[in-house]
Symmetry: C2
Subunit: 347 residues, 2 copies
């Protein structure tokens, strides 16, 4: 970008420039020989990804996609990181209820807060959407966007996920990080399209996934501009603005991106509309669903059974039927992935 610096470089060192060019290209060529998806076992799922990228980036292929239109969307919870036994953001909300409880003595006898404070797991597993909205309103609103980001950062730095006893941001799926990186290396922009909170995910999306804030589409509450002190802030209000889940994912993609994606990755019925909308765009597309069938290395739920799916995205039989009908590819965590997390070395 600093074009003023270029002329002197040219006059000074044309041969150096050539050398650097050759080293750079040779490095690129060497990398091209490497497997871009080393944590994937050979199989239909891995092959589908490789074939899709090859076809859509080859100008001689009828499926070629112009760089400006290369959009890939990824659900987060259960697709990019662990969602069991509860979404990380729900864990954040519950922890925050505990922190705020001293200022709310009435919560001791008021549901849904009482259940949270007494650790009543059975009541918690039966929370309705309205229960969760009360908790979100109490824990996610009443502060500026900047203050909320700080709260999330602080929580992420100290909270540990159950079973693995690690920060939540460690529980990302290594194979999916490789997919995102592979797409980006081929000119695709990778968007997170999550039912979770947009402002929550933006706090760590760049660091954890390499996805900048403007490429995070998510659910949000109303924010209100306040410049009464001469120092403008956006205050978070206890009111839903947009639910980016189910049919909302197609709405959100159109609202925030304005283009059909060419590839979409999900893991639950909440992602079906995103995959349908992707497929409706014309041309060659890639729709994939992560199936949680590995109770040993992660969790098994959905058709793989084992765990109740009340608090997590559900991979229902209906979704499996739709996947088969539409040619969506189901990724078996157990069979397709050599390793699950960056911290396990292929265990």
């Amino acid at each position: 970008m600093r074009i003023r610096a270029l002329p002197s470089r040219i006059s000074r060192a044309p041969l150096t420039a050539l050398l650097l060019l050759c080293i750079s290209l040779a490095g690129t060529a060497a990398r091209a020989q490497e497997d871009p998806l080393p944590s994937w076992n050979d199989g239909a799922a891995k092959q589908a990804i490789l074939t899709f990228i090859k076809a859509t980036t080859d100008q001689a292929n009828p499926a070629y996609v112009k760089p400006d239109d290369r959009i890939a969307t990824f659900d987060q919870d259960g697709t990019l990181w662990t969602e069991h036994p509860l979404y990380a953001q729900a864990m954040f909300a519950l922890a925050r209820v505990g922190q705020l409880a001293p200022q709310h003595p009435e919560w001791k006898t008021k549901q849904p807060f009482q259940a949270v404070l007494t650790g009543d797991k059975q009541a918690l597993s039966k929370f309705t959407e309205s229960d969760w909205m009360q908790i979100v309103a109490a824990t996610h609103a009443g502060m500026s966007t900047a203050d909320f980001q700080q709260l999330v950062q602080g929580w992420l730095a100290t909270a540990k996920a159950p079973r693995f006893n690690r920060p939540y941001t460690d529980l990302v799926y290594q194979p999916m990080l490789e997919v995102m990186q592979y797409f980006r290396a081929n000119g695709y922009r990778t968007y997170i399209v999550t039912g979770g909170g947009q402002e929550f995910v933006r706090v760590y999306s760049e660091q954890v996934y390499g996805v900048p804030p403007e490429q995070v589409v998510g659910s949000s509450i109303v924010t209100k501009y306040d410049n009464s002190t001469g120092k403008p802030v956006l205050m978070r209000e206890p009111k839903v603005f947009f639910i980016d889940d189910g049919p909302g994912k197609a709405v959100g993609i159109n609202l925030f991106i304005g283009k059909h994606p060419y590839a979409a990755f999900g893991n639950s019925g909440g992602d079906a509309a995103m995959l349908e909308w992707t497929q409706a765009g014309g041309g060659k597309h890639l729709m994939m669903l992560v199936h949680h069938d590995d109770g040993v290395r992660e969790y098994a739920y959905g058709p793989a059974g084992g765990l109740p799916a009340t608090q997590v995205g559900t991979f229902s039989d209906a979704l499996m039927t739709e996947a088969q009908k539409n040619g969506w590819i189901v990724i078996s965590m157990k069979n397709d992935w050599k390793r699950i997390f960056p911290f396990d070395e292929g265990k």
Copy 2:
């Protein structure tokens, strides 16, 4: 992107590569000598833009901005193209009322439609927000997003703006096109942040301004996902979803971009919050307001007087006071711009 093709290129033609590199760099150097803002007269406004870009792209300068954070936002109506005597989108809505009238005989005696159909300019100039919303609901909703885009395309291809008797998309400001191009050439992403309809502006933003759909932030109505026929569509509902104007511009920037811009361009009170929010981001910023003071080549309104401002963005005395207090730079169309439109050759 087609990395597989590179090794053969390297082995085949290292000298060709060097030659091409040198030609390319020499071309860049030559272009760097040219004035990036040829339609601007020398003066404080032009100098402010040049100084800002130089400072924020120079790593040795304390005001340096990392490429990922280089965001510039532009209002559209009155900032990038002519908004007088009515916004183009309002003209589209009025034309559409005329087209739809045969299906709505009741409009002959029902306001605000009656005023539109009889061409009652005085009534029209007094339309309230509620009147406009009724017109938007009748003309912008009840169809799929794809059908709406086609309607807008068709209208733009045939409609002519008053006085200039040219397509609306001809009435863009050449000096502002140069600013957008100059910002992009220096690694900035240029966003349109408009009170107008997001879906409306996206139809032509790439072609007219070089701004892709995902970088258009605007007002929107509710859309509803419908896959009942097996061919998914988003239906436009007669209900406001988001008003990206006034305080809503700060909300919209946070919602869609999630970062403070480093530069913002507006022309009315509806842009004040956008400029305030930009300035609140810390570091060196550039806030500019286009002042319509050229009744000969375009229109004169606001502090420059002349025309009523009921239907157009208002550059009020209060805005001028805020600009002076905050160090925002006011662009005089009359004095700062050598030419207004691409089609007038510096007249």
